[in-house]
């Protein structure tokens, strides 16, 4: 076990962490702001991948433009979903859970009807399919892109939530919906916008995952479980999800380095279960009354 391969494992850990994190960002925002457990998150990730695929395959949009375009497309789908269904279910968590699960089934089957069950592929510019060497460490360029996009999104979200008037409104609604309303904040509109934002983030994740993996109607299923674990372990806050993903990614990479990837995942899931046994509220629990 030499220094170079340990360093390599740690750098790979950052990359794995960024994947855990970007999968969980949209879910964190929707759960954190509106308290909605969005079971359709995986399907929204999948739609992001198919949006990029369509834009690239039928219109020939360059891949880097497909990422923001997928954000917009899936955000609009999220907006329609929220206005058409979720907005009527905010005070009924179990119903939201079932309804969003139903939506995800419809979306997955719908995509399967249109595109079939055979895998699609997203093409990336030549430069992204090479590797970067940093001394001992070696990492594919595209994984660096994923890390960069994730870091940018986290920064943008932090600014949005902590430095803007919109952020004050969202955090006010999170803490006390009634007081927020008493001071002119339309919580229904805030929920709608955060849901669209969370969906859009799933779209970005999808357009990246479509390159890391193949594009399939069921591709969201595995990510949604990961994403939920990060949201729960993090306590439903942005900082919590960032830290939970960071730890999980590094641990997974280190365990995979020592043993193998399957065993690493097994250990990770086990550790999360043990962690939640002793800290069921997650890393950073929110205070305040939602409703």
């Amino acid at each position: 076990m030499d220094f170079g391969s340990v360093l390599n494992a740690l750098i790979l850990g950052v990359s794995i962490a960024s994947i855990w994190l970007i999968a969980a960002l949209g879910l964190t925002i929707i759960y954190g702001a509106a308290g909605v457990i969005n079971m359709a998150h995986g399907a929204l990730i999948m739609l992001g991948a198919y949006s990029s695929y369509m834009l690239q395959h039928y219109i020939g949009v360059p891949y880097l433009l497909c990422i923001p375009a997928s954000f917009v497309i899936v955000a609009i789908i999220g907006l329609v979903l929220e206005r058409g269904l979720i907005q009527y279910l905010y005070d009924r968590p179990l119903d939201t859970l079932l309804a969003t699960y139903g939506v995800s089934l419809v979306l997955v089957q719908g995509v399967r009807l249109i595109f079939g069950s055979d895998p699609k592929y997203l093409a990336v510019p030549e430069i992204f399919s090479s590797n970067i060497s940093l001394g001992f460490a070696n990492i594919s360029t595209f994984r660096v892109v994923v890390i960069a996009v994730t870091a940018l999104l986290v920064l943008a979200l932090w600014i949005l939530f902590y430095k803007t008037r919109f952020g004050i409104q969202v955090r006010a609604v999170m803490q006390n919906k009634e007081m927020a309303a008493s001071f002119g904040i339309n919580s229904s509109r805030i929920y709608m916008m955060t849901f669209a934002l969370g969906a859009g983030l799933a779209g970005v994740a999808g357009s990246l995952f479509g390159v890391l993996n193949i594009v399939l109607p069921t591709m969201g299923d595995s990510y949604v479980v990961q994403a939920f674990l990060m949201v729960v372990a993090g306590g439903g806050t942005l900082a919590g999800t960032v830290i939970a993903s960071g730890f999980t990614g590094e641990l997974q990479s280190v365990f995979a380095f020592i043993t193998n990837d399957t065993f690493a995942r097994f250990v990770i899931f086990l550790l999360i279960v043990v962690f939640l046994r002793f800290r069921p509220q997650g890393l950073f629990a929110k205070g305040g009354v939602r409703r």
Binding site: R171, Q175, S182, F183, G184, I185
Partner: protein, 232 residues
């Protein structure tokens, strides 16, 4: 007339709390809502803000009927709300709590009005402190500052002196008097302390079991009325 209730009833679920409540608040007036615990004083405030489940009857603010407006639109008519228990957002800084008030402003200026900080120097010096760390009296100051940030024509103050040290009670009383008499902001005030009510109030509204049992200028609030509806 600034704010009027005409035969307003208010409900939580199927439970009726207010029964045919009518009153008028004139521009610049200080109206004290009096009564025992649990008779509906807080519900009057919450009904003005639209926070009960259902209301019937008519509520007008200025010339506008507001009974059917959603809560988030009501503050925009110039109503600053200081709820019972103060409703301070604990995770917010002092600054963010005051800024919350500015969302209801017509000009939606994203600045803290100078007035809020001039009256409460403590808040000016602690703008970046987490509001959850403030004492009860400081939170009450913050709640009043936040309501003032709305740029209100009327302030609704629900038990503003509840659970506050006696010396601060006096200070808050003075500030409310100043807002009312010098700046001409109308006040609706629920109070347990008859003394505070007599000192600040121009008019009173005696509530018992969800109904208005007496109302009029404050000097018509006789000891006999207080005896009958406020002592236990």
């Amino acid at each position: 007339m600034l704010l009027s209730f005409d035969k307003v009833s208010s409900y939580y679920g199927a439970t009726q709390i207010l029964r045919n409540v009518s009153f008028d608040l004139e521009q610049g007036q200080c109206l004290c809502v009096l009564g025992r615990n649990g008779v509906g004083k807080t519900t009057i405030m919450r009904t003005i803000m639209g926070l009960t489940d259902r209301t019937t009857g008519s509520i007008t603010m200025g010339d506008e009927a507001i009974a059917n407006k959603p809560p988030y639109q009501r503050a925009g008519y110039g109503i600053g709300y200081v709820p019972q228990g103060r409703g301070i957002l604990a995770d917010f800084t002092v600054r963010e709590n005051i800024l919350l008030g500015t969302f209801a402003r017509k000009d939606s200026a994203p600045e803290i009005p100078e007035l809020c900080l001039r009256i409460f120097p403590y808040l000016r010096e602690n703008l970046d402190r987490r509001a959850g760390l403030l004492s009860g009296g400081q939170k009450q100051q913050l709640a009043i500052a936040r309501a003032l940030a709305v740029g209100p024509q009327v302030l609704l103050l629900d038990e503003p002196t509840e659970g506050i040290q006696p010396n601060i009670v006096h200070e808050i009383g003075e500030i409310l008097r100043m807002l009312n008499k010098e700046l001409g902001i109308s006040l609706i005030l629920t109070e347990q302390h008859i003394k505070v009510a007599r000192k600040l109030g121009d008019a009173f509204l005696m509530v018992d079991n969800g109904r208005v049992v007496a109302r009029g200028p404050i000097d018509e609030m006789t000891d006999e009325l207080v005896e009958r509806h406020m002592t236990i």
